[in-house]
């Protein structure tokens, strides 16, 4: 009897999270800023073709580098600008109170928002990736075996978005949209230099070295998720790295989301 009720509750929770995620996705897709950014990303991919044509013998390299960088940067911008407004917008419009007055728990709201935003970004990435692959086909006239690694790079970019979304949501659970954007962007920049940071930590002696190592391991590691240069040269990505990066992105996102849940649970919304 009890287990039946638990299963029903879990099923309801999943349905509620799914509903919030779907609404978040629908709202994001309606957002004009989002469309503009996608258009801009596609435009940049188009520019890759032009740059590819004026580059000698490195058309593929330029298209992959420019295209994937555009996908990554525009996705991060989208993730930050939508992620930071997810909670505050609901509070400003007072829709949060309507949602929470129904049988929706706060943690379900946060997790649903995260999945909604992630779904939006996955769809965006698929659209932008299509642009990049078409540009690649245009300059190279055919796909080669090594182009499969471009898909791995795109997968890593999606993992990057998972972390950025989770961080944006984490900061927006207790801070203003502007400060959340600043914090998330700062962590994105620091995380992109994570390997240099760990390099600094390795050569710093004593207590300073320990502190630097701790900081270097706590900030998100975006450098391992960036294999754009590698795949642009057609170099393979080790299977182990794909596995570890997947595990890392899931764990780091779970960490940020559970932090957001803990803060949001205690937040006074009156």
């Amino acid at each position: 009897m009890n287990s039946g009720r638990t299963n029903a509750n879990a099923g309801n929770a999943n349905a509620r999270i799914g509903y919030i995620a779907f609404n978040t996705f629908r709202e994001a897709v309606r957002d004009r800023v989002l469309y503009n950014l996608i258009a801009f990303a596609l435009l940049l991919s188009g520019a890759a073709i032009l740059v590819g044509e004026i580059s000698i013998d490195v058309e593929r390299l330029v298209v992959v580098n420019l295209g994937l960088t555009a996908v990554s940067l525009f996705g991060v911008v989208i993730a930050i600008f939508i992620g930071i407004g997810l909670v505050s917008k609901e509070i400003d419009k007072r829709t949060l109170y309507t949602v929470l007055s129904r049988p929706v728990r706060r943690w379900e709201f946060v997790v649903g928002k995260f999945f909604g935003l992630t779904g939006t970004l996955v769809v965006n990435t698929i659209l932008m990736a299509t642009g990049v692959l078409l540009a690649l086909l245009y300059v190279a006239h055919k796909f080669e075996k090594m182009d499969a690694w471009v898909l791995v790079a795109l997968y890593f970019i999606v993992l990057q978005f998972l972390i950025v979304c989770a961080l944006a949501l984490f900061f927006s659970s207790f801070s203003t949209p502007l400060m959340s954007a600043v914090f998330t962007f700062a962590l994105f920049v620091i995380g992109s230099l994570a390997e240099d940071l760990r390099g600094f930590a390795r050569i710093t002696p004593g207590v300073g070295g320990w502190i630097a190592t701790a900081v270097a391991y706590l900030v998100p590691n975006f450098s391992a998720l960036n294999v754009i240069s590698q795949v642009a040269h057609g170099d393979p990505v080790p299977g182990r790295l794909i596995l570890y990066n997947s595990v890392y992105a899931l764990l780091y996102s779970a960490m940020a989301i559970s932090g957001a849940v803990l803060i949001f649970q205690r937040r006074n919304l009156k």
């Binding site: 728990r105 706060r106 943690w107 230099l193 240099d196 760990r198 390099g199 600094f200 390795r202 050569i203 391991y217 706590l218 590691n221 450098s223 391992a224 960036n226 240069s229 590698q230 040269h233 170099d235 393979p236 080790p238 182990r240 790295l241 570890y244 990066n245 595990v247 890392y248 764990l251 780091y252 779970a254 960490m255 559970s258 932090g259 849940v261 803990l262 649970q265």
Partner: protein, 308 residues
């Protein structure tokens, strides 16, 4: 237990587990071999462009480039590579962003000039870097020392080496070795002593672990080279006196040419070959030695040094 409390506990447990898991995974990622294209590519070689991009934070950018230079050389050297083509531009960008970053010049003097696998084999670039360093830090005796060191070891230009040491010796803050080195260069005398003094000064004037280890290896090699030269001179004198080659080190000792059983810097006794040559027992343990090697053997080079 209320639903809120349960949610809090689950979230706290997930937070703790995922944080520990993320750190452990990151540690594993660090140890996963990867093609480090990004480490081996230098997209912006113009320090002027970098200055603009850094929005004035050139010091931090110089530190990042400096760390990259050290890691680039350390990693490739550790892997036994002979290709250090990015070392010169990395050090040039670093010093152009921060011309006062003295360790970068010292690193360049020690690892840009020597032939691969001990360096990039670019003495011209090393010389350019030293002159640039002196132009921006005219009061630093170490830079004059590095310049003299380069002229002496790579170009065998004793006059210019003497001039560099003499200029460094005139500075208000300098090393006691500088005037001696200037005088020795002028005389070309006492090759072993001069080389020993140079490497000792190198060792004492830096805190960089790689440069220090390199200096220690050279000092040990110098000791072995000097011992072998001295012992072969003793063998020659013995042959002149007795008309035959000594059969063992004992013969040399009994004739009064040496005292005790001579051993190399690692403590292994030197070996006297039947044709009167002196050999070290384990050449692989003494890097950079040029004497005491079996016929046809190349001087051993350190392939695995301490990583930065």
């Amino acid at each position: 237990m209320t639903a809120t409390r349960r949610a809090n506990l689950v979230a706290a447990a997930v937070l703790a587990f995922s944080m520990a898991g993320a750190i452990a995974t990151l540690h594993t990622i660090d140890r996963t071999p990867r093609a480090s294209v990004t480490q081996e590519a230098l997209y912006v070689r113009s320090s002027t462009a970098l200055r603009r991009m850094s929005l004035g934070y050139t010091g931090l950018l110089a530190d990042i480039y400096w760390t990259r230079a050290v890691q680039y050389f350390g990693e490739r050297h550790h892997n036994g590579s002979s290709d250090f083509r990015l070392l010169a531009p990395l050090l040039e960008v670093t010093t152009e962003l921060d011309p006062k970053l003295l360790p970068a010049y010292q690193f360049g003097a020690n690892f840009l000039a020597p032939k691969p696998p001990n360096g990039a084999g670019l003495p011209g670039s090393a010389l350019f870097l030293m002159k640039y360093g002196i132009e921006h830090n005219p009061d630093q005796w170490r830079l004059y020392y590095n310049l003299g060191f380069l002229y002496y070891t790579e170009f065998k230009d004793y006059a210019k080496a003497a001039d560099a040491f003499a200029q460094g010796a005139k500075l208000p803050v300098t090393s006691e070795y500088m005037p001696i080195l200037a005088a020795r260069m002028a005389q070309h005398a006492g090759e072993f002593d001069t080389a020993r003094m140079l490497w000792r000064t190198t060792y004492e004037s830096t805190k960089d672990a790689q440069i220090r280890e390199n200096a220690v290896l050279h000092l040990l090699a110098l000791q072995a080279d000097e011992d072998v030269t001295r012992l072969e001179q003793a063998v020659e004198k013995y042959r002149e006196q007795t008309g035959r080659l000594p059969a063992s080190m004992g013969d040399l000792e009994r004739a009064g040419f040496i005292h005790g059983a001579p051993a190399d810097p690692k403590g292994r006794p030197y070996r006297l070959t039947p044709d009167g040559r002196i050999e070290v027992q384990d050449p692989e343990s003494l890097f950079f030695i040029t004497k005491g090697l079996p016929p046809g053997a190349a001087p051993p080079q350190p392939l695995h040094q301490t990583q930065p």
